[in-house]
Amino acid sequence: MEFSAKKSDSEINSQTAVRHSGGPHFLPLSLAPHSVPVSQEDQQQFQQQIDCDAIPLMVSASVFASGMNGALSRKFNLETTSLELLERAGLMPKWKPTRPRLKTFGMTFPDGLEFIPPKAEKEHETESIQIKGPDGTVSENTDRKKSTRLKPPANALSLEDRLFYLLQPPLQSWLAGQELLMPFEPFPYQYEGIAWLFSQKSALLADEMGLGKTMQTITGVRLLLRSGQVRRILLLCPKPLIPNWQREFKFWAEELPITVVQGDSNRRKMIWEMPNTPILIANYESMTRDFEMMGEENIPRFDLVVLDEAQRIKNRDSRTAEIARSIPRKRSWALTGTPIENRHEEMSSLFEWMEVVPPRATPDLRQLQVLSKEFILRRTKDLVMSDLPPRLDRPAYLDLNPAQQIAYETAEKDGVIQLNAMGDSITIQHVFELVLRLKQITNFDPVTGESSKLDRLEADMEEIAASGGKAILFSQWTKPLDLMAERLQRFGTLVYHGGIPTKQREPILDQFKHDPDSHLLLMSYGTGAVGLNLQFAGYVFLFDRWWNPAIEDQAINRAHRIGQKTQVIVTKFICNNTIEERIDMVLEQKRELFRSILGDGDTTCESRSLTAAEIFGLFDLKQKKGDVTHKIAPQVYQKPAA
């Protein structure tokens, strides 16, 4: 466009003014009124671009006759006047930002006991080599979803008490290779058990044998000590189990110093009174003796007392139970795999020791169930150890050897005749004596030493030894064990019973574990049934039967427990047509019959021993008075068998 160059500024301004004052802004410039004339050439070019004739938009753009135009030409006449406010502006009350004072609630946590860390692992020790820290899979397990938190106990009422538990770290992170090194990652149910024990003042941990009561207790004790909750602990256990506890403490909590109360009475007195001994381990007998001598008022105080194999105080009138109740303590934990061995009243004694029922209280079955829910934690293998290899029970029904058969029949016939002759004056002890004599004959013929059980055992052991397996055998008597050991020497047979001095027992277990040529360990129920860890043995033989299946189960569970890699084959020898068959039948019936306080399906606790009536019923005992023959029954006051 050339027009802008040819026109003066004033002309352009006036044209622009015209355009802005009159024509609408959308009108093409060339067609607007008073527009600058466009050359012919431009018009043609423009027409080519739009390819059509331009349409003139002739919109009228005259000024609206409002009279404003005239008004705009006049000057404004402005005048100001001042106006007084009616009153002064009111002010809101002064507000200044301040930090409000807050009340707070606070608590500090007690200092835990610090212990000298254990020395670096000695690599030459085979035990140490097996110990390993949590691996990668362990740390995956410690995510928050699987964490086990401590819960405040029901009797913690103050906020401070409750917060103490809520603010503790999850057990998994507490124990996972940080402050408290664990040689192995516990199972989830064990974490729960530890958390439960930690928060209980009165607790009965009644997990089935082999589920790790010892480890849960040691870890619970460790956490209590490290968090400053307890400073002095007494652990009571049967004497043969002391080395086991020492070993387990060393394994699970190496840094904790433990002191065994042993030696002559002066030395024991010194140990009882020694300060700075966080953990004392004593056996029931020496505890009872020593505390009796000290007198009730001089018994030392403990923050925690743990009773292992707590069925030892099942009889509340026993001296052991009385002395155990008199120990001044803040926390009471009892451990047993068989809280009821015979009668549910045994629970009352345990609850009395735990101070959850008044002295001499006799809670009924319903009350016991309520108490059980709050103060007993019991898990069975079926419930928690779905990955534990199965236990295969294999009763071996054997015929007696000819010599045994003759001896047995003679003994039974004579024995029954003697008992019948005694009439109503016979006691359970008389019947017991006969039962024991007959059971001994089913083991060995007293004259020739023949034994169908031993023959069978020998045959089985050939196979077990050839495959490199290990077996443990239990018997009620120690003498047959020694006899068997001679005949089975070629299997590297070892003997472990009450007749073996305590100091020699640990090396025997050690040899059985580590010597590849040692395939058989012969044990007595009394010494070997509780507390030992023999999970490397895949075979268990019950040479003769105990009165109480709970004890048999305890024995079997030396092998069938955590750490067992293979199935455990349990062979129970039962001689046909003998007293053994009859006892077995009665016990099996009882297993089915009795219901447990601890819930349905818990077959372990249902197993109770034979009553006096049942023992009398093993024989056809009759007395003839004149023409009348009547059955001989036990007197009502007679106590059931052990």
Binding site: R99, T104, F109, R149, R162, L166, Q168, W174
Partner: protein, 175 residues
């Protein structure tokens, strides 16, 4: 070594929960570097009035979390932490009122805006952000990263604090 010359690293975990009536209650847990609790303090519930809501506007929550609750708790603590961890970003206001370094804890997977005013450091499973201008912050975070194992979850103690605060609210309301 930490700032006060002691060898032990003490971590503070500060968080706030909202009560059913809208009030805020805060708690500060000080633990050792294993996560074992050493001291815990919590406040009574704080509820701003209408005037405060209007006048503070968007600065109200940072004021409450950082200055009112956070500072009160830090002042009350007998065992002073070497590093305070927070999970609510608005509580970083506390840093303006205390010499103890304050760091915002976030998940390692969380995508954060790049900002020159914050420095980031990965510790355990978490990431810590702290004020770039704070002199002792760097030293505290470095000290923390040395003592905290790689698989540690620094978010876990906050769960404990929240649970404790809920317990306090529950017990307070039942009285």
């Amino acid at each position: 070594m930490v700032a006060d010359g002691s060898n032990e690293l003490r971590l503070g975990f500060l968080t706030t929960i909202e009560c059913p009536d809208g009030a805020l209650i805060g708690g500060l847990l000080v633990t050792n570097h294993y996560g074992r609790p050493l001291e815990f303090q919590c406040t009574t519930p704080v509820k701003p009035n209408r005037t405060q809501e209007v006048l503070y506007g968007p600065t109200l929550i940072p004021f409450l979390l950082g200055e009112v609750i956070g500072l009160t708790l830090v002042e009350k603590m007998n065992i002073k932490p070497n590093l305070i961890l927070i999970e609510q970003e608005q509580a970083i206001e506390l840093q303006k009122h205390t010499a103890i370094p304050v760091a915002i804890l976030s998940d390692i997977a969380q995508i954060l805006d790049d900002s020159d005013s914050f420095l980031c450091e990965q510790i355990g499973k978490n990431r810590l952000r702290f004020d770039a201008g704070h002199q002792s912050g760097r030293a505290a975070i470095e000290n923390t990263s040395k003592k905290i194992p790689g698989d540690a979850d620094l978010g876990e103690p906050f769960e404990r604090v929240r649970e404790a605060l809920n317990e306090a609210v529950k017990m307070g309301s039942s009285r």
